[in-house]
Symmetry: C2
Subunit: 269 residues, 2 copies
Amino acid sequence: MLVARLLSAAVGIPLVLAAIWLAPWWGFAAVILLLSLRSQWEFYALFRPLGVAAFRGAGLAGGAVVVVAFAAGQAHPWRVPLALTLAVCGVLLVGLLPWSEHVDWSALALTLQGVCYCAWLLGHAIWLRDGAAGAGLLTLMLAVTWCGEAAAYFVGRAFGRHRLAPRVSPGKTIEGAAAQLLVSIAVAAAGGSMLGLPQGHAITLGAMLGVVGQVGDLAESWWKRCAGVKDAGAILPGHGGLLDRLDSLLFNIPALYYYWRLFIEPLRG
Amino acid sequence: MLVARLLSAAVGIPLVLAAIWLAPWWGFAAVILLLSLRSQWEFYALFRPLGVAAFRGAGLAGGAVVVVAFAAGQAHPWRVPLALTLAVCGVLLVGLLPWSEHVDWSALALTLQGVCYCAWLLGHAIWLRDGAAGAGLLTLMLAVTWCGEAAAYFVGRAFGRHRLAPRVSPGKTIEGAAAQLLVSIAVAAAGGSMLGLPQGHAITLGAMLGVVGQVGDLAESWWKRCAGVKDAGAILPGHGGLLDRLDSLLFNIPALYYYWRLFIEPLRG
């Protein structure tokens, strides 16, 4: 299991870094679009065993419109709200179609949930990369998140005694969570100075990503627990589904984007 | 019934016009916030008879954040996506709270649905009024929507033979829908020239509002049918709940805003 995990990482991480540092803007947007569609697909598939069929077609179309708008929206910021509005109204319309006679309201609400959870949150990665030092910030966030998760895994296995959230995610321990927080701060402090971030902001960012990422991880565990499954898929050897790998990032990407927008960008005038 | 309806209108319409034409920006935003919270409350209440308890507290808080961001967002357009992100993530967190042990995923998805359906769509009214000729456009939209609905009601009662959507809204007829479309175009053509809109745009706008508003009406009917209720509430004598009165506007407000943004604003340079 651990070997498969490390091998996946050895192949996947260089690909991700290439997309962040080398791809043109549309290439990066295409990668985000694929990740978003796949994770949304996995999200909907979670609920199949319960007999709940989300409107995959409408949901994925709405999600794609949202991600494309993030790519097209820097110069025209109203395009992103327009895309979300189209997704909200479009999903509502599905219930009106003549062949949707037996459609349940919960399937419709789940469809919109998938758009907001996967496409909306992940789309912020495109805005984040577009900004000044965007590629650096994205890389720093990945390093913070992944090093922190590795610390939580190893420290939790070695020293974990007290469960963090036994109902939602029985494997997580308070000891592991504390290790993730500390390592997140350390990595952010080291990486932040390479990016020229003020030390106070780098440490605050590390603490924020260390907490918010774990919350995102628990949020995905909650959905899986509701659906009664352990992994969201099996696309990444040793890592489960794509959604299992993106769960922390889905929360950390917008958190970093808005932190940058609110606190770091104004410093640079 | 008709008398109560007309009396409600005689009291309500002057209040609405005063809010549009006379209130300061924060007063209009406060009106929209109240309308949004009340309609979201009614939306959640629809599902109580089914035993589904949305997280009203988290949902209404998320909706309020979204509407306030629309009011605060003209100069800082990223505040609106930030508010939606907070609402999306905040609602997700409710499932993680220690006292949410018996929370169902469908109640959580319904909570987010209420934010997107009521607060997100209605918030666009604030942006619409902020723009050039905003108060005039809002008034035109209300006139188009309400005259169109009156036409559908009377023509449908007098001449309606063919049902439009028997499964979702058995009272609606194709004859009424056609009357609404024609009256919408006529009112928009007359009112548009008063606002100085090019005639082609006024007619297109009227046709769009005449169709989109009816779709919004059907969408609300669909939710009510799912919940097995006839009216969303009884706050307005003769009109049912606030949501029953806002249903067309929830779709027409963003439709008009983006039409203006895409096609009319560029004309004025």
